[in-house]
């Protein structure tokens, strides 16, 4: 193949441009200067300390955790039903229905958030963490369905029939055969939905009614220059967490497919 040096350097430049700012995050998080600018000053853990002692931040983190756990659980459960139904059964209106479930992937989130806000207010539902959860489930469910569909697809139907044939009930078959074989997919779906929910901003901002939620809180704190270094420390923690969680998710997804004896098709990493 002919080398294209220009294309290669462009690619490198592009990747550096995209990812260098993320690398700057931890650099300045450990920098003792109060201003985020080069040259670097001394090494410090002060910003992490400040971050941990911030009461509002703790509340925001707790709320985000509640939201992310609920969203990940709900969308994964919904994803299991949808994926199982779409892989195993034929029913009228299946194609448009699955399309509708996947639609939020391409719909502008801003539109979804505004539409939900209008509807919720007009039917008199007070905004709370609960409304944030409902909105985010709409966004994360397509991811759950995509991951779980690949998990269910790699499951041979005759495995279920074999279990029934050997005397198991439908529930026993689900528990002993289906669940263990799609469990890696379920874990992957849970972790990815959790990550998406954790740093989701638009819906949290629109439907959160000013409750401290991590992403919204960070955005607010950026207005105060003195708070920026501790926000960078927080950012560092979140980046590390995201990478670890996504790494786990992909590991489980691949292991699941290998275990069920299938071929890898797609995935997010």
């Amino acid at each position: 193949m002919k080398r294209a040096p220009l294309l290669k350097s462009y690619t490198i430049f592009y990747l550096v441009f995209l990812y260098a700012p993320i690398v700057l995050l931890p650099i300045f998080a450990f920098n003792s200067g109060k201003v985020v600018a080069f040259p670097l000053q001394g090494f410090t853990l002060d910003w992490f300390r400040e971050m941990l002692s911030d009461q509002n931040l703790r509340t925001a983190a707790k709320n985000s955790l509640i939201i992310a756990l609920s969203v990940a659980t709900l969308s994964t459960v919904l994803g299991i039903f949808a994926a199982r139904a779409s892989v195993r059964y034929r029913f009228p209106g299946k194609v448009p229905l699955m399309g509708l479930i996947m639609l939020p992937l391409v719909l502008p989130e801003m539109i979804v958030a505004m539409a939900l806000l209008v509807v919720l207010l007009s039917i008199g539902v007070p905004l709370s963490l609960f409304t944030v959860i409902i909105g985010q489930v709409l966004i994360t469910t397509p991811f759950a369905v995509a991951i779980l569909t690949s998990a269910f697809q790699s499951l041979d139907k005759s495995l279920e029939e074999a279990a029934m044939d050997l005397g198991e009930t439908a529930w026993g078959t689900f528990r002993l055969i289906i669940l263990p074989l799609v469990m890696p997919g379920i874990l992957a779906s849970f972790l990815i939905c959790f990550t998406i929910s954790f740093d989701e901003f638009i819906i949290s901002n629109f439907l959160g009614s000013g409750q401290p939620i991590l992403s919204v809180y960070i955005f607010g704190q950026f207005r105060f220059p003195a708070k920026v270094p501790s926000m960078l420390a927080l950012g560092t923690v979140l980046v590390c967490m995201s990478i670890i969680l996504l790494g786990f998710a992909e590991y489980f997804r691949r292991r699941g497919i290998a275990k069920a004896g299938g071929k890898d098709s797609g995935g997010f990493l």
Partner: protein, 366 residues
């Protein structure tokens, strides 16, 4: 090749129909399968043989009719309580379990002690030739080993009927022939009724006590292998099983149970009408298997009838040679097989030959 007909009935089909929407998959299946029989469902893909097997297992509901197993109507009996077990085409070995756990899966609800169950698993593995494989991970097995695990897993429950859905189709030729013999031996050893689904007519002939040949959702013929081969009931069955030459014939006269026909290239011959109810005005065909035709050498005389011919094609197989021969100056071509013996040369294309045949080997078709 004989099967005593006095054994008790294990499975009985009465007018079994199955529809998938508008598609009529089973069109009135009738017949019985005897206890301890090695029974095959043979037919091309889409003939309904797998559907029929799955209705026995309980994986498919039937639209109408009755399936009885060991005298009980299966209509309200679910798959997990039927006295049948299945070896799947894909083997369906549970990939997240060991060989032992796979084989012991059906014993989960068995009241026996752990030790007794472990013993049963070991015995079952021993029976299929997988002694000492218990601790292996299921996904690390070869195709032949998976097949044996599937067999052990199904047989450990001592089912009344073992259902085998094209179990040999995923194996290579050598392994397949080896497993055919092993399955026959296994079946004799355990004495369980085996029902095999296959599209391979040779496999069905080799393994079965009786065979049901299916086309388009119907049983075209249910008979033992020899009858099926020698006296196929229809042209379609004859064509599906082995090689059959078809010669057009005209009806000359009928008299009671026999009919005189003029078979093109063979001449006038009297045939039993019980084979196929033909009457004057029909244009039947007669069938001849290649091995019932013999080339006559030098001054050999035909024991019964003989016809002149010209060799059109020679196909050499080592132990056998197939000759395609035009009969008696007509455009009717038949294939015949001759064993190659020392001192008898393989003949060339264009050689004028004499073909010996026997009227009793002819099969009449409408």
């Amino acid at each position: 090749m004989t099967f005593s007909d006095d054994r008790p009935t294990m499975i009985e089909f009465k007018e079994v129909h199955k529809y998938y929407g508008d598609y009529h998959a089973l069109r009135g299946i009738n017949g019985t399968i005897k206890a301890g029989e090695f029974f095959s469902l043979l037919g091309p893909s889409g003939c309904g043989k797998t559907t029929l097997l799955r209705t026995i297992a309980g994986f498919e509901d039937i639209s109408s009719g009755v399936i009885m197993i060991d005298g009980k109507d299966m209509a309200s009996v679910a798959a997990n309580t039927r006295p049948t077990n299945m070896v799947f085409q894909s083997y369906a070995i549970f990939p997240h379990m060991t060989v032992e756990e796979n084989v012991g899966f059906g014993l989960r609800k068995d009241p026996r002690s752990k030790e007794e169950k472990a013993k049963a698993v070991a015995e079952s593995l021993d029976m299929v030739g997988l002694k000492g494989f218990g601790k292996r991970a299921a996904h690390a097995l070869s195709g032949g080993q998976r097949q044996r695990v599937a067999l052990a897993r199904a047989l450990i429950l001592k089912p009344k009927v073992l259902l085998l859905d094209e179990p040999l189709s995923a194996l290579d030729k050598k392994m397949r022939e080896h497993m055919q013999v092993e399955l026959i031996k296994l079946q004799r050893q355990v004495g369980i009724t085996f029902i095999l689904v296959t599209h391979d007519q040779e496999e069905a002939l080799v393994m079965s006590d009786r065979i049901a040949v299916m086309f388009d959702g119907e049983i075209a013929q249910l008979a033992d292998p020899e009858t099926l081969y020698r006296r196929p009931a229809t042209k379609k069955v004859a064509d599906f099983i082995g090689t059959m030459n078809f010669v057009p014939a005209d009806i000359l006269s009928e008299s009671g149970n026999s009919v005189d026909v003029d078979a093109k290239g063979l001449g006038r011959v009297t045939l039993d009408i019980a084979q196929a109810p033909v009457k004057s005005g029909d244009s039947p065909v007669v069938g001849l298997r290649p091995e019932t035709l013999t080339l006559l050498y030098d001054d050999q005389k035909a024991p019964e009838r003989e016809t002149a011919g010209v060799i059109d094609e020679v196909i050499y197989f080592g132990d056998m040679t197939y000759y395609d021969v035009y009969l008696g100056g007509t455009d009717v071509e038949v294939r015949l097989s001759m064993r190659n013996v020392p001192g008898r040369p393989v003949l060339d294309v264009g050689t004028k030959v004499r073909v010996a045949w026997s009227p009793s080997a002819l099969v009449l078709f409408r």
